[in-house]
């Protein structure tokens, strides 16, 4: 009979048998944070068709290694290649090949299960969206719950959906960071089976876990990290967890070596073509597995290398759907498709939660009333201060919304899910900017009649319409600058306070022409035939510069934030 994990799942250790096919190769990989090294001199290869358990105590560097593999972090030293692509230089190409399940589900809680997956499919630039979503949902037994919001699903269901999200593009390499944390037995069983199935179809699976019993049964190979170094790595013998536990305890007791593996010479470290899993556990292949027998040479792909150059041959496993493989520059249509998906998602979430706009509108109106009352006390005629109060209220209110633009997504992990995809960063900027522009414009259009009423203006209707156009133009540049800088502030401490500090100096050149033109239209009641003058040119230049700049620079800040 096939072995079972501690949770009771019947699994088979898989090897699809791709000679010399290496999914991931790290050479001298190191990652240093401000004051300490999280990973040091890691040499590692992960093979296609095998499950590799990443073991180690807290702080050993497991999550850092997965973050490097998912391109979320950049290595400080060494090189990391995934599916033949340099993780540092070809981030988008690497992201197209990986599927990540993190501590958090990386889903949008206010979208349904199906909407979340459809969004992810679009982020990967794949076609047949509904078909893929349905298949992914059926695979994790969530198709009947497809219309339910993620926030209403149990933790186990969310984790299954997170796995579906990670698998929906059929990745070559699956990264799982403590995926069993918080799962009940039934949910863990399902996860075990799906991990084994992923390896069965030829994907490389790297799973960070503290659960040695599960690792012994589920994984073909193990890597033990201690203090950021590989303390031991090799194939797991049998399904008995005791030898692995002894290895683990030895590694902890000895500690991390300065070079190589504790107590061993480097030349001893290359795994010999050992007997593959199915030979070690004949019962295993009579379980649920349907994969072919493992050729002995497949184990070579799991070998460590002490050389400085990767010698691996990268090859996408046969049978995997590689239609998703990206990396080449996307056509304009692809960028716009990403932008549309992001904007649609943002508007849908806002429509359901009404989290931002009601507060923003109320705040802006209160600001305008306060400004009007305060400025009136200084003595100017009431109607003359209307344009200034209008624009200051609009900028204050929209800043409140911009503060939530990306930080809201970041707080529940949805943004991380977006960024782990190869979606064009310029497309993500455009989608986020469209949404912010729409919100700011709507806010401005709501404030216009309120300003007319509060400040007793009597503009010509055509001038009022022209003022609405000025709001539209001013909001374009302002929201583009705001989206770029909210991305810049995203990784910072006290980001809510920081955004206005960064953004308001940029508002000065916007306020002068915007107030001047609004004043011309609403206060002095210029005829609509009059030349809009330099104000419109400046507002248009402002919008053009920040939209283009944001499109080009957004990727730099969002991938660092």
């Amino acid at each position: 009979m096939s072995p079972t994990t501690p949770s009771g799942a019947s699994v088979v250790k898989h090897t699809a048998g791709h000679d010399d096919a290496v999914a991931m190769c790290a050479v001298g990989l190191g990652k240093r944070f401000e004051h300490s090294w999280a990973l040091r001199s890691v040499d590692l290869r992960i093979a296609y068709g095998r499950v590799t358990a990443l073991l180690g105590p807290n702080g050993a560097g497991k999550s850092t290694l997965l973050a490097l593999a998912s391109t979320h972090l950049r290595p400080t030293t060494g090189r990391l290649e995934i599916a033949g692509h340099d993780a540092q230089r070809a981030g988008a190409a690497v992201r197209a090949h990986i599927g990540l399940v993190s501590h958090r589900p990386m889903l949008y809680p206010d979208l349904s299960a199906a909407e979340n997956l459809a969004y992810v499919v679009r982020m990967y630039g794949l076609d047949r969206v509904e078909e893929r979503v349905e298949a992914a949902l059926r695979d994790v037994d969530l198709f009947p719950r497809r219309r339910e919001r993620v926030s209403t699903l149990s933790r186990g269901m969310q984790q299954r959906l997170a796995l579906a999200r990670a698998m929906v593009h059929t990745p070559d390499m699956v990264l799982l960071d403590e995926p069993f944390a918080g799962l009940d037995r039934a949910a863990a069983v399902g996860l075990d089976e799906r991990v084994a199935a992923a390896a069965g179809r030829g994907a490389a699976v790297l799973v960070a876990t503290h659960d040695l019993e599960r690792a012994a049964i589920l994984a073909d190979d193990a890597v033990i990290l201690v203090k950021g170094r590989v303390a031991w790595s090799g194939p797991i013998e049998g399904t008995d967890p005791r030898p692995l536990r002894r290895r683990y305890e030895d590694a902890l007791n000895v500690g991390a070596p300065k070079r190589g593996i504790a107590g061993k010479r480097e030349e001893d470290l290359t795994f010999a073509p050992t007997s593959p899993r199915h030979e070690r556990s004949a019962d295993a292949n009579r379980g649920i597995g349907t994969e072919p027998a493992i050729p002995p040479t497949a184990m070579q792909a799991g070998a460590l290398s002490s050389t400085n150059e990767p010698v691996a041959v990268f090859r996408t496993p046969a049978g995997l759907d590689d239609s998703h493989v990206a990396g080449a520059p996307r056509p304009v249509a692809g960028v716009l498709a990403v932008a549309r998906a992001v904007a649609a998602k943002n508007i849908r979430v806002e429509w359901r939660t009404r989290e931002v706009m009601p507060s923003v509108i109320l705040f802006a109106v209160v600001s305008m009333v306060l400004l009007g009352r305060a400025l009136l006390a200084t003595g100017p005629e009431l109607h003359r201060i209307a344009p200034s109060a209008l624009w200051i209220s609009l900028l204050l209110g929209s800043t409140l919304g911009l503060t939530r633009t990306l930080s809201g997504e970041a707080s529940h992990g949805g943004l991380a899910g977006t960024l782990v995809s190869p979606a064009d960063r310029g497309g993500i900027f455009l989608g986020t900017w469209w949404t912010a522009w729409a919100y700011t414009t709507v806010l401005g259009w709501l404030l216009l009649p309120i300003a007319v009423a509060l400040f007793r203006l009597s503009p010509d209707p055509r001038n009022l319409a022209a003022a609405a156009g000025v709001v539209l133009l001013g909001a374009a540049g302002w929201s583009a600058a705001g989206v770029l800088l909210s991305a810049a502030a995203l990784g910072a401490r006290a980001r809510e306070i920081l955004l206005p500090v960064l953004l308001y100096p940029l508002a000065l050149p916007l306020v002068v022409p915007a107030v001047d033109e609004t004043s011309r239209l609403l206060v002095t009641n210029a005829t609509s035939e009059a030349s809009p003058g330099a104000a419109i040119v400046l507002l248009a230049a402002y919008a053009l510069i920040y939209v283009v700049g944001g499109f080009l620079l957004f990727g730099i800040v969002i991938d660092q934030g």
Binding site: H35, K227, L485, G491, L502, L508, L553, V557
Partner: protein, 229 residues
């Protein structure tokens, strides 16, 4: 290039230029007909303003080159220049206000394009430095580089906005050489002041970069020691 040697050379140059310019500004330059002794404020003010704008340009160049080459030394240059930029912009605003108050009777005017430009630069510098303190690790260099670049169009557009709509500031004399006499003692004093400011800025910039490099070396050594234990 050996930064220590460069720093010493710049320090010697700065000292020489400061001594000469102080002598020329306060001893050799006569009182101005209208402004009297108050003209001397301008030698401090214009020099500080020139180097404040220069330091923003250096920050911009450092930011762009960091993004292109991903070499952290360019980030150190950008940050060091921004730090001195805050100091020099503050001196510019302060001396400008003091001069305006003593000559024109007001501290500040919103319709002055160069006052606005200097103020926006000050805000940009301070925001840039606050952001640097709020970010950790490798994100800091890339993100602040983008923020520095994003600030430039705002500064330029703000300058045009103020010029187009309202403006007040004495016309620049150096940009109109046809009206500046070669034997004008005020022009010579101003040029010397600019040279002294530039040399001091270059010296302090190199020193600040050197301190950043030493700090980084200490951090590296500490991290290596932690890793070895």
């Amino acid at each position: 290039m050996d930064l220590r040697r460069l720093s010493r050379a710049l320090a010697a140059l700065s000292l020489g230029l400061v001594v000469v310019s102080l002598y020329v500004v306060f001893v050799r330059t006569p009182e101005e007909r209208v402004m009297g002794e108050r003209i001397r404020i301008l030698f401090v003010h214009v020099g500080a303003a020139w180097v404040a704008y220069l330091s923003y340009a250096v920050t911009m160049v450092g930011a762009v080159l960091f993004l292109v080459r991903r070499d952290v030394r360019w980030d150190r240059l950008a940050a060091a220049s921004a730090e001195w930029g805050v100091v020099l912009t503050s001196i510019t605003l302060l001396t400008g206000s003091i001069w305006a108050r003593s000559v024109n009777g007001w501290w500040w005017r919103w319709d002055d394009s160069r006052l606005n430009l200097t103020l926006i630069l000050w805000f940009l510098y301070v925001g840039y430095l606050i952001l640097r303190r709020a970010l950790d690790g490798e994100a800091r260099a890339a993100v602040t580089a983008v923020v520095a670049i994003a600030g430039l169009p705002a500064a330029v557009l703000n300058h045009f906005a103020t010029l187009l709509f309202r403006t007040f500031h004495p016309d620049p004399i150096i940009s109109r050489p046809d009206q500046a006499a070669a034997d004008d003692p005020f022009l010579w004093a101003l040029m010397l002041s600019l040279a002294a400011y530039t040399a001091i800025y270059a010296w302090l910039l190199v020193e600040r970069v050197r301190v950043s490099e030493v700090r980084q070396s200490v951090r590296d050594a500490r991290a290596d020691l932690d890793g070895a234990t």
